[in-house]
């Protein structure tokens, strides 16, 4: 892909001014790091980090039947949501494999927002538009919606410093959101994230993002807030065992084998993939996505084969990197169910060398209750 086809978020100028190293990602020019992956990672674990995730897709469904359309396309039970509540879910195809993982926001019974991965925006936009046809209004708002994530143990200290409505956001429950004005910007903060830390993700109008970003940076710097790029976003989510679409899950994997069975509610009524997922749930699973630690000298990377004691290729690593907080080389991968128990030993084929690894319980990192 040439540079000419890459898009920039409204925060591109901020990233460059902050020394961010820009790389192509899912059709966007995004910062991979500013001060360094480990430094940014630790800032989020110990203080706070600010992320530009404006490349994510935002799909709006409105109307009397919007809730039915949403519930029919996702595996989790959207009917359980109340106004101002969000949930994590998968959207599957009829075969029960994963089209995308999403967060569904119920603004009102007749007003829903779907946040999808940047890499799947075209596919999911078409998928929801098709299902909405003749039933409810559909609008792809991605191009006019910015998204900034503020994550870390000091996130709410940063918001308190800004004052006004921002100061009361700590009263938001987990996976709750509401309209607010933060530093003069009308926005929708949501108590969600992709780091394993407490914090918010804030939706605002595309062109308002720089003002909001600068206000958060200014208020947060005394607390140790740092801008965080895609590199640390990946290590943070991996330590917390949050799936990455395109790596750990895709259209060849089911939510059940990926450990996402908790968002598949086959009893909720009809939805796309229900029949397939019901039979998958009823049968023994051939393979499972497991968390593992590389105990030998090496780092597992996406795509590396996993080998059994006889040196037979039995699985594949889907994500892997050093875990800066856990201090170990960690990874996720698919293994036969017979080898998926905690303590099960196997090898990662690191470019022709078999390196020792062991299945461990996940998440690799869990924040202390505060």
């Amino acid at each position: 892909m040439t540079d000419a086809l890459l898009r920039r978020t409204s925060l591109y100028g901020e990233h460059v001014a902050l020394g961010g190293r820009i790389v192509p990602f899912a059709g966007w020019e995004m910062p991979v790091q500013y001060t360094g992956i480990v430094d940014e990672h630790q800032a989020v674990r110990t203080a706070a980090g600010l992320f530009d995730v404006s490349h994510m897709g935002e799909l709006r469904l409105r109307g009397e039947y919007a809730s039915h359309v949403v519930d029919y396309l996702v595996t989790n039970d959207a009917k359980k949501l109340i106004d101002g509540q969000a949930m994590y879910t998968c959207a599957c195809n009829e075969q029960g494999t994963i089209l995308d993982d999403l967060i569904v926001y119920r603004h009102a019974q007749d007003d829903w927002l779907i946040v999808c991965n940047a890499s799947n925006r075209g596919k999911m936009s078409a998928h929801f538009a098709h299902a909405a046809k003749d039933h409810c209004e559909f609008d792809d708002e991605s191009d006019r919606t910015a998204l900034i994530a503020l994550q870390g143990p000091r996130a709410f200290d940063v918001l308190s410093k800004i004052g006004g409505a921002a100061a009361s956001l700590s009263s938001l429950g987990s996976f709750r959101f509401r309209l607010a004005e933060v530093a003069g910007v009308r926005c929708t903060p949501s108590r969600t994230g992709y780091t394993g830390e407490d914090g918010v993700e804030i939706f605002c109008a595309w062109d308002d993002a720089p003002a909001l970003w600068r206000a958060l940076m200014t208020a947060g710097t005394p607390f140790g807030l740092k801008p965080v790029g895609l590199g640390a976003r990946d290590t943070l989510r991996l330590e917390s065992r949050l799936s990455l679409y395109g790596n750990d899950i895709d259209e060849t994997t089911t939510p059940i084998e990926a450990g996402l069975g908790w968002v598949v509610k086959t009893e909720k009524g009809d939805f796309v993939g229900r029949a397939a997922l019901t039979s998958i749930k009823a049968e023994p699973l051939p393979r499972k996505l497991v968390g593992f630690e590389v105990t030998g000298r090496g780092v597992a990377r996406h795509g590396y084969p996993l080998m059994d004691a006889e040196g037979k290729n039995v699985g594949v690593c889907t994500s892997g990197s050093p875990g800066p907080t856990v201090g170990k080389n960690i990874g996720l991968g698919y293994l036969p169910t017979s080898m998926s128990k905690v303590g099960s030993r196997f090898y990662v084929d690191c470019r022709g060398k078999n390196i020792d690894a062991v299945v461990v319980s996940t998440p690799f990192y869990k924040r202390a209750n505060r």
Partner: protein, 132 residues
């Protein structure tokens, strides 16, 4: 940092540096390479003293948080020294890539090979094309 190219070294397109010493050439990776890698977590030197290495052939790998990359020998010859510190202190690569993070020293087969590598001016010009 990556714009500063030490004048007394020679360089490869794979961003290794080479330093001429008494009968040996010491090898490491440049600040540009370090900046591209980010935080280095593992240096695997896959040769031992006495091994022969070929010019442009891999002698190890380096892992950062983000990626893995091969290390290539700029000149052919026999390995005469290895920096044992890097196994336990990979962070030296981020801290002092032209000094404490030297990787191996080679007694070159061809004494003239060093002179064919890029000098600082040529490498500096090459970096400008690599960055843009």
């Amino acid at each position: 940092m990556s714009d500063t190219v030490p004048p007394d070294l020679r360089y490869t397109k794979e961003h290794e540096w080479a330093r001429a010493g008494a009968g040996e050439v010491t090898i490491g990776i440049t600040a540009f390479a370090v900046e591209q890698l980010g935080d280095v977590t593992l240096v695997n030197l896959e040769v031992k003293v006495g091994d022969e290495v070929g010019s442009g052939k891999p002698f190890g790998t380096i892992e950062s948080v983000k990626t893995l990359t091969d290390l290539y020998a700029p000149v052919a010859g026999k390995v005469v020294r290895i920096n044992e510190d890097l196994a336990s202190k990979p962070e030296l690569v981020n801290e002092d890539c032209y000094g404490k993070a030297w990787m191996i020293a080679i007694a070159p087969t061809d004494a003239g090979a060093y002179g064919t590598l890029m000098d600082a001016a040529a490498y500096g010009a090459y970096l400008k094309t690599a960055e843009h």
